[in-house]
């Protein structure tokens, strides 16, 4: 199982979204949507939803959940980590 980190989620953005800004400028708290942030649209959101499901096995089931989970890379990381199965010690 992959670990959710801001870096790995930034990679998902780079691979699946049409970014209009330099990915290295996307910080943990940069809003993913809206003109003040990364400026993603609903198609980008759908691609992220599919990529998260594929990589982490966690479904973001509906647009309202996506709105909550995809606020920023930090929020998405925390959202995924809460749902990942506990690691064997």
């Amino acid at each position: 199982m992959y670990e959710a980190s801001v870096e790995s989620l930034r990679e998902i953005l780079m691979q699946n979204c049409m970014l209009k800004i330099d990915p290295s400028t996307i910080g943990e708290e940069t809003p993913l949507f809206g003109p003040e942030g990364v400026g993603l649209d609903s198609l980008d959101a759908l691609q992220i939803v599919i990529a998260v499901e594929k990589r982490y096995g966690i479904a973001i089931g509906d647009p309202n959940t996506a709105k909550d989970a995809l606020q920023s890379l930090g929020v998405l990381r925390d959202w995924i980590q809460k749902r990942l199965p506990p690691q064997a010690v």
Binding site: K20, P35, G39, D41, S42, L43, A45, L46, V49, I50, D62, P63, A66
Partner: protein
């Protein structure tokens, strides 16, 4: 999943207006639902269609962009409920992957198999497989939207 895709019956539709397009831009002649979220569309490629004269002179081939249009219209018919409500359009939002495998000639019938893979809010991703005369001619994925996305300022 929308209700009209759940009746489970394969149904043949022969309708001159399966989509909201005018007669000059209809790229599905016939559509059959073959599963709860799956359908097949047919388009006869009339050799007298104007675009064949120029694409290309002396060597007519089906333009690849119109193969994508066939795919989008077949997916649209599936989403719009087998043409029950062709006045409520859906829109092509994204060509996510699409590969043209072999040329398609006038006089062939393009068969487009469309599978609804995922619905998410107003968006729907469909997997497409196109064939003609028994050979695979194109495949890919497209996303349709039930809403028109506002243009973004750059």
């Amino acid at each position: 999943m929308v209700s009209f895709l759940t009746d489970g019956l394969s149904r043949m539709i022969s309708n001159q207006a399966l989509t909201p397009h005018g007669p000059g831009f209809r790229f599905i002649d016939r559509f059959e639902k073959i599963g709860p979220a799956e359908g097949m569309g047919w388009k006869f490629l009339d050799p007298s269609a104007g675009f064949f004269a120029d694409h290309f002179p002396g060597n007519p081939l089906m333009p690849a962009v119109l193969v994508v249009e066939c795919a989008a219209q077949a997916a649209g018919v599936l989403l719009m409920g087998d043409g029950k409500n062709p006045t409520t359009p859906v829109f092509l939002a994204s060509i996510d992957q699409f590969r043209i495998l072999t040329p398609i000639s006038p006089g062939e019938t393009l068969e487009t198999r469309v599978l609804l893979e995922k619905e998410f809010g107003p968006l729907a991703i469909c997997a497409i497989e196109c064939s003609a005369s028994g050979r695979a001619v194109a495949r890919g994925k497209i996303t349709l939207s039930r809403e028109i996305t506002k243009p973004h300022s750059s």
